[in-house]
Symmetry: C3
Subunit: 169 residues, 3 copies
């Protein structure tokens, strides 16, 4: 039944796309629990072996560097005082075995003096992914603070670029 | 094979519903990057030609008015000082070619003096959508601040209305 | 056509998994609108009849206790002054008729004096679910503040546990 062959293949393609999108969301939803629990290896495993995390002014190259950030003194001090690395609803673009997520992130810190939490950082992230035999992994993440500099606005703008949108993207 | 016909049609309906939900999430995930990058046309294109954005006390009618908000002096000043328009996880209801999302939003501003970010606004949004030949578009968005007024609570309550829930909604 | 039988059964399994994940997200997206509108019964219905909400130091047992929290004086005072119970992007694990979501939550309160909103609470939540004839329901939710205590970090760490991840989880 060629009609069934065609319908099933089309469904398989659509279901794969949905699975890809939820898998990418899951990576963003894993990042906070990984770093805020101080889980260095699970954090690093979100990236490819040679993945990059560019979080100005630091640029971390490879899993060992990313794990080192989590184990490092600054990060450990933050999470032992109370810290939440929140990730926003991602804008997703999937193109075969590559994908990009654009999402806000916030770093919220416990402030005992005021019995509340302070937003220390609010930035935009461009996450680039590759499909591997172990599922989607991050090849490159760049994080820039929304402090008025053009760089963060440009990262946000790339997700809604008009030229591409007018091409039907 | 009528059994296969039936099973395939049922799968197509379920996959369409999933695609609809992810497409609606994507619209909310696009709004922030569009406005915070100052991208007026991509923001306006999220709405239908005659779509409405009711953000008290302003009520913007149509794409030109929505684009004008993004290009306007107040908005430009905010994003050049550092601003993030965050959208929360949406409660979704899809009914054929119409849909409603209920979600929180926050406007977070850079505060250099305290090296942190301040939440200027936290509100609830009711987004109403229509399915068009170009995909889902916003017909009406109403935003109300959670400042204790009943109006915002009523918008939230509409998403969890008991009468509808008891009908199996 | 056994090939079609197999392909259709596989698609049905994959679509069910996607539907489960979106249904679990919808529960988290319903919680805020339910409590912030003061909708006691819709809040309680998210749980099983004997479901538990452990929000230190209170441990609420069953729907009546959960509804009572929403109707109670403290909660009513908060929502009449302006309150938002925000839920983050959930990390999801589905295993047959059981599921776990790990997600951040924030309680944001209107602060008229500074024309802004204050983050009173930021915590981690482990939501445990069971599939019922009425859909997914919460059997147990534990909420712990990210105030530097190990308990919250341990809840986050459980979502990214290495032993399980190395088993292919």
């Amino acid at each position: 039944m060629p009609d069934h062959d065609h319908a099933i293949a089309e469904l398989q393609r659509r279901v794969q796309d949905l699975e890809d999108r939820l898998a990418l969301m899951q990576i963003l939803a894993t990042y906070g629990p990984a770093v805020d629990s101080g889980s260095a290896a699970p954090t690093a495993r979100l990236w490819t072996d040679d993945g990059v995390y560019d979080t100005f002014p630091a640029v971390l190259h490879g899993r060992a560097a990313i794990a080192g950030m989590v184990s490092g003194e600054l990060h450990q001090r933050l999470i032992h005082a109370g810290a939440a690395h929140l990730q926003g609803l991602p804008h997703l673009e999937v193109d075969g075995d590559r994908a990009v997520a654009t999402a806000y992130s916030q770093l919220v810190l416990r402030d005992e003096a005021t019995d509340s939490f302070r937003i220390w950082r609010t930035g935009v992230n461009r996450w680039e992914f590759v499909r591997t035999a172990q599922g989607w992994q991050v090849t490159h993440r760049v994080n820039r603070q929304l402090n008025g500099d053009a760089e963060a606005r440009n990262l946000l703008g790339a997700a809604v670029d008009e030229g591409r949108a007018q091409d039907g993207g």
